[in-house]
Structures are given as structure tokens and as C-alpha cells.
Amino acid sequence: METIKHFINTIAAPKILFNIVVLSYLIIFPPFKFFQKIHDALGVRRLWTKKGGMAIFSLMFLAFAFGLTDGNFRLIVLKPDNVPIVALLFLVVFFVWLALHQAQDNDDAIAKGGKPKEWAESREKVLVFPDLVYIEFIALMIVAALLVVWAIGLPAPLEQAANPTVSPNPSKAPWYFLGLQEMLVYFDPWIAGVVFPTVILLGLMCIPYMDKNRKGLGYYTYQDRKTAINIFMFFWLVLWMFLISIGTFLRGPNWNFFGPFEYWDHNKLEALNNINLSELVYMIWLNQGLPSNILWREAPGFLILIVYFGLLPAILAKTIFKDLYARMGVVRYSIFAVLFLMALTLPIKMYLRWLFNIKYIVAIPEFFFNI
């Protein structure tokens, strides 16, 4: 028992867990042929059958039930404000399954030269009253009842009266912003708190204008809009839901990482030996002092940035995104590429931190400009 818990604690470390999650993502939503092959070989499509769904859920519930036997786990998961996130996890998994379950059915039908289920249904008209009105009524009554039961069962949290001089450790933002707070580990507040949210929103708003694929409107499908769904799933599941979960469940005092079965020990110390790229280049590789000129000092970082945002899109357009580029045209592609690359900086920065202890690529604290 303890060994299992210990094992889980160990693999729950962001470094490992993130890799596991990325790997599973790559296999489940394979963006490249290589992973497609693994995908096929493993028969991942069975996940989206009813049996697969049952399996997923049984596994989740089992894991959860197992976790609940542990005091530390209970403490975190049953904290009133964390309950919505637990619910969210189950709901997201369920709806992802539901969407892909239907998509698989439709895809199979289309593959056989048929039409999606919705097509046939949409040809038939029904009166809204009472069909839809009743269904809506029922749904909202269910939710109302659920809310009341929830309210009865779980008192809303109310801690000590506000004290501006004593900050609790850890201080967490509301759970839906914990993804952003988790990013603070890797980025300065201006990026994690301002640039990323803006990019996320812009990116979301741009979706309809980027996606030129006319197929897949009005019915669940995967095969017809594979790229779109793959990209979306990466951000939605891997970078958003996963980070929220980490921030909520696995971050304790001093924003240190704690496994799900680990006690939140205030004394836990982690070595945060991070250095800036400039220090790495000048002090460790070149073994000399930092130049006093800021631009010269940060030149390596700027160089990387220029390459990343300037050259990489062009290179990608010639290689991986060749089709995409052709379909989108220059303007759309440029916007897409910049947004996409920006979003990718998050995992990149994560890996840089884990592999090289890089803190900032460009560090100009004089102007609060750290990247």
C-alpha cells in the first residue's frame, strides 16, 4: 500500500507527470504519423466505445476511492473549494469521452460512405413546445436539486477574518486561475498573468477565423477535423486542466510540490538553483563576468527569441505546417504561428527549467522585463 502511494507520489512530480500526460496525449490524439501508429497499435479507439468509457470511469472512481483512504489526500480533495475541481475532472473526462464516443460513431458511418447521425435527425423538425422546453425544465430542475444538496452537504468556506499582515502559505488564487498561477513558476507575472491570458483569449477568439475546414459543422467528428481537435485538446487538457489540477492538488506551502499522499510540510525545501541564460552563457560556458551593457548581456536570449518567433514560423511553414500554410494563406498563418508558438513557450520553458535550470531567457530586471 505504502509502496503504491510512494510510487504515485514520485510520479506525480510535475517533471514526470507532465511527461506522462504529454505522452498519453500524443498517443490518444496523435498529431504525427509516428504516434498514429502507436495509437493504432494500442487500439486506443476502443477507449471511446461504451466499454472503454466504463473502463475509464471505473478506473477513475477506483483510483479516487483508493485515494480517499489516505488522510492527506482526503484533506486536499475534500476541501470545500476544491470539490468543484474534483467534479470538473470527472465531468471533463466524461464529456471528452461523450464527444469522442459520438464522433467515433459518426466517423465510422462516414467512412462507410454514410452520413453522421445528426444529419438524418436534422432533416426532421419537431416543435419546441413541449419537447425542448420540458427537457430544459427537467435539466435545470436536476441542477437546482443538485445545487441545493451540494449546499446542504458542503458549507461554503469561511476562514479567519482578513489580515493583510499575515499571508497564508500557500496563498492560492481562485481555482480557475490556478493554471495561470502555476505558470508563475516558469514565467514572470507579466507573462503568466497578462500576456498568456490575453493570448489565450485572442487565440480562442481567433479559432473560427483560423479554422478553414468546412467539414465537421454540426456533428461530432474526429476524423474530419483531426488537426483542430488535436491542437485544441493539447491546450484544453494538457495546458489548462492539467495545470489547474497541479496547482490545486499538488502545490503546497512555499508553492513546493507535494504528492497526493504527501503531508504538506512547511519545512520542505527544494533546491531552486535556477540561473539565467546570460549567466549560463557568460559565467559558466565562457567563464567570465557578465557584460555591463544590458543588450550585450542579454544578446543570447534575444537571439533565441528572434529565431523562435522570426525564423521558426517560416521553417515550420516549409516543413510540418506545409499543408496548413497552403490552406491558410500568409496572414492567417502568421497569426496562427505566433499564437501557437507563444502557447508552446510554456512547455518549452518547463523543459528548459527541468533540464537546464534555466530561469530566464532574457533577464532585464531593471525594466521588469524577464522572459
Binding site: V166, H266, N267, L269
Partner: protein, 182 residues
Amino acid sequence: MADIKPPVTNTSNTKAAANPAGDMDRRSFIKWSVVGWSAFVAVVAGYGSMVARYLFPNVLFEPVQTFRAGVPEDYEIGVSEQFKEKYGVWIVRDSEKIFALSTVCTHLGCTPNYLPVDQKFKCPCHGSGFYTTGINFEGPAPRPLERFKIYLSDQGEIIVDKTKKFQQEKGEWSDPESLIVV
């Protein structure tokens, strides 16, 4: 809503305005609508700026986070405890600078005592010890005491600003705002 005229006329007008060739009638017509719509845009911008300005009041009722701490000559080399009670700050002077140390232990937030004989701060809760510089050297405290922003006013008085902190482990103690050179 979507198919109202103004935008249509507007765009055509601006184009026309760029091209002065046209009959008199058309020109005067163009001018008026441009004037009207520019004024309208200015008004909307004005209202927007009203809201923006409104959000910044002329006075604040917040408790003061800065305090005046006399002139540098008031301090001898060593630790001054005169602001410990009221503001939670030690003013420390050494041979070359004056700085303001927070009196909050970095372990669990207790208030350490200053022991003049040993020249150190000792936390009564769990025994963390700090040099007069604020560096931790014994006990469980994970990091040095924090320093506050300190500067000289126009009149030459020391001002301590508690809203800004400087942490040694972040390398902020060399910041010129964290000390007064004497």
C-alpha cells in the same frame, strides 16, 4: 442594427475626403459628416476617459505604509529599535549604509528580539538567529529577514516605505532603493 447606414456613408466619405476632386455640393456634404462623426468619436473617447479618470481618486484613505524616521545623523552604528513597536521595522546602520529590516521572522512570522550583546536577532518562537544584516545563521529560518525600501526625502529625512520589500535570496539587497549610503 448591423445594416445601419452611418458606417457605409462614413467609409465612402473618408475615401472621398482623401480625394478632393468632386463637385462643391459633394465636398460640403463630405465635410459635415466627417466633422460630425469625428466629434462623435471624440465624445465617446471623452466619456471613456471620464470613466478611466474617475477610477483614480484624488486622495486615499489607506493607512500610511511609509513613515519618517528622522535624519541619518540620528543613528549610530548598530540597531535602532525605536520603530519596532509601531511599524515593525529595525533601522540598522553599519559603517557604510543604513537599511530597514522587517521584524517578521522568515520561519513562521514571529517577532525576533534584538540582543545587543551578541549583536544578533533571536526569534523566541523556534530559535532562529539572524545577524544584524538580516542574514539567517542559525535555527530553522529558511531565508534572511526582508528589507524595506528606504530613501532620503527632499528635506534630507529618512523615509521608510513598507510597500516595497527586498529579499536577499532574490539578490535584491544591492538595489539602491534598499539602502541609504552614508
